[in-house]
């Protein structure tokens, strides 16, 4: 099986779960004997050292297109990025032009590559996927890791993005959704038949675990962690409101906000306004090692997402033996049962659960014990097997045609 994959981020040049997901899935597919050409927008020569080693010894080929697009950019942040890039002359004027450039380069790549199926990840690659599939008359799988409705919380949907998402879903032979939650989004907001959608849950890597266990910050206080982009979708505001509620009852707690995003100034100001600035630490964007350390040092991980297609971070916290509180509005809540769940808007209940985890030791230890076992079954091999089944069914469909 030869797969032509279109992605847009890969660790370490990634700012969200998409890069992590593509990395985990690609590795697992390759271990199972699948040949993959992975196309990436080119912005830097950096590549994950582990992965580089893995790539050189396996059946994965990375192809780069010269572009600076990154998945969570808005058109305005794209312009800012472009100003910083010395080679800006060769890039288009807007994010959408870049997507277009990515799309038209797909035909050339399709000509250069041998493949049985095109598999593309999220909206920016859908145009490229459609073009490559058409060029060689090969089936198209679009993999939906998030939708415009998740990213915007339903307010201010960008029509261009929405239309591109919808076109990809319509033209695809099969759609892969990362959860039933996402499947429902696709059915309800894009008018796609549910029969066309397969659910492939994300996994988490076994080795995603920090070996350290001795942190200075833990002396005399407990740690509650938020880790993700500081954007409306991830609910950092609910985290900070809950922090304030928790601090009314428990003084020796530190709240760490790890990540960057457009809501960061708002969150910093809020913390100051509520008089808890000394208890909230902003860690910025963390690399993989520091991400694992952050999970490991935390007593509680909180994922208060407003709309979370999956939420790999919840699994990552479990891998680091930290109990998670996740929002009911998430895909991961379909596979992770040994955790605490809240509606993202329910700050009182979130605070109740944070305090309970901080106070009642038996709660955290039972969750840790049971979730470790549960998460050991949620891995990329299982996800790869499901993807392969999706590919196989495509083949069968083609023969029947």
């Amino acid at each position: 099986m030869k797969v032509l994959m279109f992605g847009w981020e890969f660790p370490p040049i990634s700012s969200g779960g998409l890069g992590t997901a593509c990395y985990g899935l690609t590795k697992a597919l390759s271990r199972k004997g699948t040949d993959i050409t992975f196309v990436l927008p080119y912005s830097s020569d950096q590549i994950n050292a582990d992965f580089a080693k893995f790539v050189s010894s396996s059946k994965i080929k990375i192809k780069k297109i010269k572009s600076i697009i990154s998945p969570y950019m808005t058109s305005s942040s794209y312009s800012a990025e472009r100003m910083k890039n010395p080679k800006k002359a060769i890039y288009g004027k807007t994010l959408f032009e870049e997507v277009y450039r990515y799309t038209i380069s797909a035909e050339q790549i399709a000509d250069e590559e041998e493949f049985d199926v095109v598999h593309c990840h999220d909206w920016m690659t859908f145009g490229a996927g459609i073009a490559a599939s058409k060029r060689k008359n090969k089936p198209l799988v679009v993999h939906v890791h998030s939708t415009e409705f998740d990213r915007t919380g339903g307010n201010g949907i960008n029509d261009y993005v929405y239309n591109l998402e919808k076109a990809g879903m319509q033209k695809a032979d099969r759609i892969v959704a990362v959860s039933n939650y996402t499947k429902n989004m696709i059915v309800n907001h894009y008018g796609i038949s549910q029969d066309k959608i397969d659910i492939v849950y994300n996994g988490v890597e076994d080795e995603f675990c920090c070996p350290e266990n001795n942190f200075e910050i833990k002396k005399g206080c407990k740690v509650v962690l938020f880790l993700g982009r500081i954007t409306l979708q991830k609910g950092p505001d609910y985290f900070i409101y809950a922090a304030s509620r928790v601090l009314e009852k428990e003084k020796n707690v530190r709240f760490i906000v790890a990540g960057t995003g457009d809501m960061e100034p708002f969150i910093i100001e809020k913390a100051a306004e509520m008089g808890i600035a000394d208890k909230v630490l902003f860690a910025g964007f963390l690399n993989k090692e520091d991400t694992m350390r952050a999970y490991k040092m935390a007593d509680v991980y909180v994922m208060p997402s407003v709309s979370e297609p999956f939420g790999i971070t919840a699994l990552e916290s479990v891998k680091n033996e930290t109990p998670a509180i996740i929002s009911n509005q998430s895909g991961v809540s379909e596979v992770l049962h040994h955790c605490l769940k809240v509606d993202f808007w329910d700050v009182n209940e979130l605070s109740n659960k944070i305090i309970s985890l901080l106070r009642y030791d038996a709660l955290g230890s039972c969750i840790k014990e049971n979730s470790s076992f549960e998460v050991s079954k949620i891995n990329w091999d299982a996800a790869a097997d499901k993807c392969l089944a999706v590919y196989d069914n495509l083949g069968r469909g083609a023969e029947q045609r």
Partner: protein, 405 residues
């Protein structure tokens, strides 16, 4: 082998002994950490009422009516026994008093025996002998008051049993006690005889779990090879005990009828025709636990040093005190005993006892909480963790209340 031969000679007549456990807990209201110190109501009156009214109309009322009808139709030959917890009796008085009247009517037939247990359906035997004895006395008094019976036979919460319990119950004056006929305690022996606990005179009746669970758990199970369970088929299985035993002890939750097994699956029709079919065999009869005990000599001694229960395949206590949350929660409850009792405050003592009901700890069980499995048992919480949080918040509020804070 001597015991076996002797038993066979005596095993001509088989008595069918029905015992139904009738219980509903006082479920807790969701209690937030922010309510600690506010001493709000701990119990979810609305939910408790809804559930009670539902179970009364689906099970208690139709089942009582049917059993009364069967007793009358057989001129009292059909007999059953009940153990009704104080927790349920209190809720029935409040929300569905007609069910109590109907139990009284059953008591008056002379074919119905009421057993004794802890009033609060608690695990007190494991944590406080003093408290255990007090709760048994409370229940005994209430059964006497309502049904005009002085129970001679005891059953402990969830059929939790060991030698030590048997000794204590014997000392308290009972002539019989019930337990699970678990394979690991019986070995090659049969549950269809009366036994003595080791070094004890009290008589031990053991649940025939196979024939009990055929009705209680498998009746509507389509994947079961014996589905559908018909009256003639089941009667044949009981008749087969003839010559191999004196008694078939069918112990189950009363809610089996209409609540766990639904009316539209035919559970009431099954019960309606069972007595007639069984009585057709000349060597069968129905008997209450006290009658079994007075009619049959023990065939041997059973040494059961470790605690057994009627729950799950494990037949142990792991459903209630198997994980750290359950252990922490129950320890907190019993640690308050002295403070609670020395307060002399009736309401505080009563609240404390309601918090001892085993269901609260059962809801915290994580054994079955995998792959999104819904608890086999009705669980008012979304997860075992939620139930623990609520319970601990309540206990912490209650602690402050006891200390007058």
């Amino acid at each position: 082998m001597i015991i076996w031969a002797e038993a066979q000679s005596r095993g001509k007549m088989v008595s069918i002994c029905f015992y139904f456990q009738v219980h509903q807990p006082f479920r807790l209201r969701k209690y937030s950490v922010f309510e600690i110190g506010q001493h709000k109501n701990y119990f979810n009156e609305q939910k408790n009422r809804e559930i009670l009214e539902k179970v009364a109309s689906k099970c208690y009322i139709p089942a009582n009516n049917l059993i009364l009808e069967l007793i009358r139709k057989t001129d009292g030959k059909f007999k059953v026994s009940y153990s009704i917890t104080g927790m349920l009796l209190e809720q029935l008085k409040e929300y569905s008093p007609e069910v109590i009247d109907s139990f009284k009517e059953l008591a008056a037939t002379g074919s119905v025996e009421f057993l004794n247990e802890t009033y609060h359906h608690s695990l007190a035997f494991l944590y406080s002998r003093e408290e255990f004895i007090e709760q048994v006395a409370l229940h005994r008094k209430e059964i006497g008051r309502l049904f005009n019976q002085k129970p001679k036979v005891f059953r402990n919460t969830e059929l939790i049993y060991n030698n030590e319990l048997a000794k204590l119950i014997e000392k308290m004056g009972y002539s019989g006690i019930l337990a699970e006929g678990a394979d690991n305690v019986l070995g090659w022996r049969s549950p269809n005889f009366v036994y003595n606990p080791v070094n004890s005179k009290i008589k031990l009746l053991l649940k025939n779990y196979k024939l009990s669970d055929d009705i209680a758990f498998r009746f509507s199970e389509k994947s079961w090879s014996e589905f559908p369970l018909t009256v003639p088929k089941y009667s044949q299985w009981i008749n087969a005990v003839n010559g191999n035993g004196n008694t078939v002890n069918l112990f189950m939750d009363y809610e089996t009828f209409g609540e766990h097994q639904w009316e539209d699956k035919g559970i009431f029709e099954f019960l309606r025709h069972l007595p007639e079919e069984l009585l057709r065999h000349p060597d069968n009869n129905f008997a209450t636990p006290s009658e079994i005990i007075s009619k049959n000599k023990p065939v041997g001694e059973l040494d059961i040093p470790n605690l057994v229960s009627w729950a799950d395949v494990e037949r142990d206590l792991s459903a209630w005190i198997g994980n750290k949350m359950q252990q922490q929660a129950i320890k907190e409850v019993y640690a308050l005993e002295n403070d609670v009792k020395s307060s002399g405050d009736k309401q505080i003592i009563e609240e404390w006892r309601k918090l001892q009901t085993s269901d609260h700890f059962y809801y915290m069980c994580t054994k079955w909480f995998n792959d999104g499995d819904v608890h086999k048992y009705f669980n008012p919480y979304d997860s075992p963790y939620e139930s623990f949080i609520t319970f601990m918040n309540i206990i912490n509020d209650f602690k402050m209340k006891v200390k007058g804070m």
